[in-house]
Symmetry: C2
Subunit: 131 residues, 2 copies
């Protein structure tokens, strides 16, 4: 397996990853601006830089240094990271039962009917195709 398991991102790291997933590969400046746009009085430039350097050491992102302003790229897709976070939470707080987590998620906030329908289709697939 070429995919070594990546560490669970911290809150701050996750915020940066979300920017990268949304914008695509970005420089530190771009990430910083995106973050301070959502949350003025947020974090300083060098803070974001440091975080992204550490994320590079951890393998959460890669960077292209061919330009003066290095370009960062997530090493895991959003989906893959979401999956990891979910399984983590299922194990830590839901006794290993994904369904219980799913039910908790749906009960806690109200969800658009469209998404409920989509979820129902997924349920059909899961119940139908047994293997």
């Amino acid at each position: 397996m070429s995919e070594t398991k990546l560490p669970r991102p911290t809150d701050g790291e996750l915020a940066i990853l979300r920017v990268l997933w949304a914008r695509g590969d970005s420089t530190v400046r771009e990430v910083h601006e995106a973050l301070t746009r959502d949350e003025p009085e947020g974090t300083g430039y060098t803070t974001v830089l440091k975080l992204m350097q550490i994320m590079t050491e951890k393998g959460l992102v890669e960077r292209d240094e061919s330009q003066r302003a290095h370009v960062y790229r997530p090493r895991a897709t959003e989906q893959r990271t979401q999956r990891q976070l979910v399984t983590d939470l299922v194990d830590r707080a839901f006794g290993g039962s994904p369904a219980r987590l799913a039910m908790q998620a749906l009960s806690s906030k109200k969800t658009r009917p469209e998404e409920l329908a989509e979820l129902r289709r997924l349920l059909d697939t899961l119940e139908g195709g047994e293997e």
Copy 2:
């Protein structure tokens, strides 16, 4: 409101809370034994004690000091804590969409048919009585 918002429990704290939810109110020794039963070479007694003292300061648990061995009691139910963790995760990693989290949970691990059925019933309720 009498319910001040409790802080998000750390991994270690969550492990302790799970013991309290499962066993009911317990002393440090009881929690420690439960933990080392699952995970020998786990944490030492004083470590658990310290954690639980800090959890008391944070308000995650209360303690009854009338006995020499203090008895600890979770201040939030398992459900309430699960709900908090789920909404946290939904906001931090799923763009606020509980349904997407639910789908990720179901796709990642295989779930017992019985639980799928239960989930489907919940879906019926949500779609039926909504709007």
